[in-house]
Each structure stands twice: as structure tokens, then as C-alpha cells.
Amino acid sequence: MAETHDDKKGISRRQFLSTTLKTACSVTLMGVGLGFYAQRANALPPLAIRPPGALPENDFLGACIRCGLCVRDCPPQILSLGQLGDDIPTGTPYFIARTGPCVMCEDIPCVKACPTNALDHSLTDIEKARMGLAVVVDQENCIAFQGLRCEVCFNICPLRGDAITLEYRHNPRSGKHAFFIPVVHSDACTGCGLCEKACILEKAAIKVYPIEMAKGELGHHYRFGWKEKAKAGHALVTPDVKHHYNLPEGVRYELQGKGLIFENQKAQPSSGEVPFPSNPLQSLNRKRKESE
């Protein structure tokens, strides 16, 4: 009797272990699958812009509880939730600038609606929002670069003059006209996307991209000499040596000044025998024969 009891217990223990192991293995396998799916599904396409105040994407995906309260409280109703099968993580909010840009409400109701701080509640000034960064991405098609007056992106910009400025350039094609080139400044652009929406082209030449995609980054070792010099008050690389010009006697050269200065009349060259032509290109482009 005791033996059979032990036997039974042995079998049930073995059974228990094998079922447990089986379950553990299949769930682990499932987890690996879900993990890989999560990796793929959590990659946000560049056109999808997060609402204002969204934490950096990695933190956002942990903090956003997928409730859609921000979508509900958005006055112009531009936000959508990612759906199963979309490229956007299921249930997370986004907007597409070209079809529905952020209108930058002053009271930022979407942020207030967020129950989890995935939209950072410390954002109270909508002009401090950094949803993305506008980039004049197609200079070949932007008509401002053709010398035409457009400036629609500049004029619609809520931070006109700070986030987008117009840069004046000479138009060499006509020789007498100007280019008014829109230039975006990352220190002021909120990434609202109004410019992208307003762009008059068939497909926008100015587009909002996630900041990390839009911004370049200088090598960390890189220093601009003039900036470092200004910071330190003097040159850091080599001491400032007064440049020595090999000039004929009685002739001085003033950098950023008058140029060549003839100290006495004697040194003043008579016409026809100027040692230094006024156009530097003339001496640079001298043919070999002439220099000999």
C-alpha cells in the first residue's frame, strides 16, 4: 500500500515537473517572440510625431499607458492612437504634421490629460515643446530657392522670426533679384508642423522630423578656433605672432585696414609697374611664364 502510494507520488511529481517545464519553455519561447515583435513594433516611423512634452521615445514607451486621454482632450483632434498592424506601437498617440499639425494650444490640454507623465507635466510653456524639428529638406523643389517669393512656412510659423527666419541672398541667375531662403533654428522650433502643413508644394519641401533624426552632431573632440579664442581671450594653439610681410622698404601692410601703405613718395610705384596687382586672383592665376 505504502509502495503504490510512493509510486503515485513519484509519477505525479514527475508529471508536475514535466508540465511545469513544458509551460515554462513555451512561455519563454512566447516571450522571445513577443520581445522581438516589441523591438520591431516599437520603432516609430519618422512621419509620426509625438504630442508635446512626450518623454524621449524609450522612456515614453514605458510610461505611456495607451489610454488615449490626450487624444480625447486635443481641441483640434489631430492625435491618433497606433493600431495593431500599424508601424506605430499599439495604442500610443501621434500626429502626422502634413495632415494635422499641432496648433500649440497655450494651456496644452493633451499634457494635462496624461495620467502617467508620459507627456511631461513640467511642460507648461508650449513654446518650450520639442516635438520634432522642421527641416527644409528639399532645396531643389522649394520655390524660395528658385528665387520666387513664397515665405508661406515663414509666415505660418507661430514663432516666426525665431524658429524660421528668412535669409537674404543674391540671385545670380537674374543678377538683380534676391533669394529669401527659409532657415529653421533648432533653438526655437517646437516641431508643431504648421509649416509642413502649409507648404504649397504637392509634397512638402519642409518637413518635421524627430529631433534625433534631423540634427547632426559635431565630433566631440572638435573645437572651433575662433570660439575657443573668444572664450579664453587669446589664441590657444600658437601665440599670436605679428605676421611679417616681405615688402619693399618703406611699404607697410595693414590687415583689415587700408591695405598697402606707402610711407614715402619714393616707394610709391609709378603707374604701370605696380608690384602687387589690386586683384589677388591676377597673381594667383599667373601663368608659369609670367612668374619666372
Binding site: L84, P115, T116, A118
Partner: protein, 302 residues
């Protein structure tokens, strides 16, 4: 003596009348559809009673509710959410700890409408068998989602969670989500009896943990009247929870269903022609209930 699964509840209708044999089912459907209607009145009719969805919501602009399981995933992924979420989760935790964690499953969750339909159809069509998966799989999945949330730093289960995806499909409009719902339906119909909710769903697994100390319970108070018709076992989504309470008189086990997988759906109460079951409290759980008098006297005498 035992009734066929497809005839479950027929006897109860005959003895108690249709309405009383469907009382808890009707109340449950009113609750489920009422909650859905409250959510949908906003986007569909512009009547904003509840904003958000089952992950997190705001009722009448004052009552925040947050799913504690989703919040837990957020926490292990390494973020510190706003207090609103904690308040919402605390309210949910307290409520379900009192009425029974899996009341969420049977009275709130929209997927239950789908799986109940599948289960009903399965009984009527006499579909049996299917894959044998352990009912504890869901706890493994629950653990897996938490580990994975910690590793990936994202709320992992929300990528595929049929519970919130179904509701979001209704509230925010989407196409592919219905494939997931259909998948759950077909799985429950053809592959496993109560397959999704009873074996895999980590949301239900989480809520069943809240069920552990809930005072509100189904009790087989008149278990001596049981005539082994098997109707309750046939309609129960977690039939393993019934036996210890219903058949425990001889083993000194009380009549209250204490297993935390019980969803408090009350369907067993409906279908029992002998009115064995009723809602009660976990505290009136005298093991002597339903022990016949002779045995009771013997027990006292010994």
C-alpha cells in the same frame, strides 16, 4: 443523471422560469454593455461620460481609474508615472479586492462577450477536446510580461493585449484589431474550452491575484441538494474551482468557492435547478454545511 453540456440550464429554466435562470447572466450583460456604452457615448454621440479606455480612464472629469497591471508594467519598465495614475490604480485595486478580482473578467472585460459566445456555441455544437494547456500558463505569461517590460523598457503586453485593443477598436476605430478578436473567438470555439481567459490571459491572471482575499464569494450553501446534473461544471469558465466547495462536505471543506480563478460571474447560480449556489461572504464558510445530520452527530460524538 448528468445532463449533456448543450442542455446546461434547461432544467433550471423549467423549475425556476427563464428569467430567474438567467438573472446573473442578464445583470452581467447589462454591466458589460453599460460600461461599453458609457465609453462609446463620447466618441459616438459626443456625450462624454468616460474618457480614455480600460487602460486608464477619467469618468465625469473627476474619477480616475487606471489598470494596475498596466501600471505595474510601466513601473518595472523604469518610469515614475504621475500621481493620477497611482490614485486611479489604487481605486481599482481596492474595489476588486472587495468584490473579487476577476469580477473584472466577467462583469467588465469586453473580451468576455466574445469568449462567452464562443463557449456557448461550443456547448451547443458539442465541440469537445482540443489542446491540453495548463491553466497556470497565464501566471507564467504574467511573469513573462513583467520581466519583458523590465528588459525592453516598454509596456510589452499592451502591444497585443486583446482586452484593451478590443475596446480601443470600438472607441478609436481600427480594422486589424477585429482579426485579433476573431482569433480569440475561433481559438475558444475550436481549440480549447475557455482557451484565452482560462489559460493565457495575463490580465485575468493578475486580477485573480486580487481575488485571493476578496470577501464576496459564490458559495454552494445548499450543497446537500446537488443531484450531480453537471450543469454548473458545464457552464463554468473555470470548472476546477467548483469541486472543492461543492463536493468537500466529506473532506471537511467549507462550501465557499475560495479558488481565486472564480470570476464571480454567478452563472452556476443561474443554471442550478436545485438552487445550491448563491452569493455570500467568505466568512460564513462552515465546513459542516451540507454534511448530513448522521455524519454530523458522528463527528461531534467522536
Amino acid at each position: 443523471m448528468a445532463n449533456l453540456p448543450q442542455h446546461a440550464g434547461r432544467e433550471a429554466v423549467r423549475t425556476k422560469g427563464w428569467l430567474r435562470a438567467h438573472k446573473w447572466l442578464i445583470l452581467r450583460r447589462i454591466s458589460q454593455l453599460g460600461i461599453l456604452a458609457a465609453f462609446m457615448a463620447g466618441p459616438w454621440l459626443g456625450l462624454w461620460i468616460v474618457k480614455g479606455n480600460l487602460a486608464s480612464s477619467l469618468t465625469l472629469d473627476v474619477l480616475p481609474l487606471t489598470d494596475p497591471y498596466i501600471l505595474l508594467q510601466a513601473l518595472v519598465s523604469g518610469v515614475s508615472p504621475e500621481t493620477t495614475a497611482f490614485v486611479g490604480a489604487a481605486i481599482v485595486l481596492v474595489f476588486y479586492s472587495l468584490v473579487g478580482g476577476r469580477v473584472y473578467c466577467s462583469w467588465v472585460c469586453p473580451v468576455n462577450l466574445v469568449t462567452d459566445t464562443a463557449g456557448w456555441l461550443r456547448r451547443k455544437l458539442g465541440i469537445r477536446g482540443g489542446s491540453q494547456t495548463s491553466r497556470s500558463t497565464r501566471y507564467w505569461i504574467l511573469a513573462m510580461t513583467l520581466v519583458l517590460s523590465a528588459i525592453t523598457g516598454t509596456i510589452v503586453w499592451e502591444l497585443v493585449n486583446p482586452v484593451t485593443i478590443t475596446l480601443r477598436a470600438l472607441l478609436f476605430g481600427t480594422a486589424l484589431a477585429w482579426m485579433l478578436v476573431l482569433g480569440v473567438f475561433l481559438f475558444d470555439l475550436f481549440v480549447t474550452h475557455d482557451g484565452w481567459c482560462g489559460h493565457y490571459c495575463p490580465v485575468g491572471a493578475f486580477y485573480s491575484l486580487l481575488n485571493t482575499w476578496a470577501p464576496l464569494r459564490v458559495t454552494a450553501a445548499k450543497r446537500e441538494a446537488c443531484d450531480d446534473c453537471m450543469d454548473c461544471f458545464n457552464v463554468c469558465p473555470e470548472p476546477q474551482v467548483i469541486r472543492p466547495a461543492l463536493k468537500g462536505a466529506d473532506k471537511g471543506v467549507g462550501p465557499v468557492i475560495l479558488a481565486n480563478q472564480c470570476t464571480n460571474c454567478g452563472r452556476c447560480i443561474d443554471v442550478c435547478a436545485k438552487e445550491v449556489f448563491r452569493f455570500g461572504s467568505r466568512f460564513s464558510n462552515d465546513p459542516k454545511t451540507g454534511v448530513d445530520n448522521v455524519k454530523q452527530i458522528q463527528a461531534i460524538g467522536s
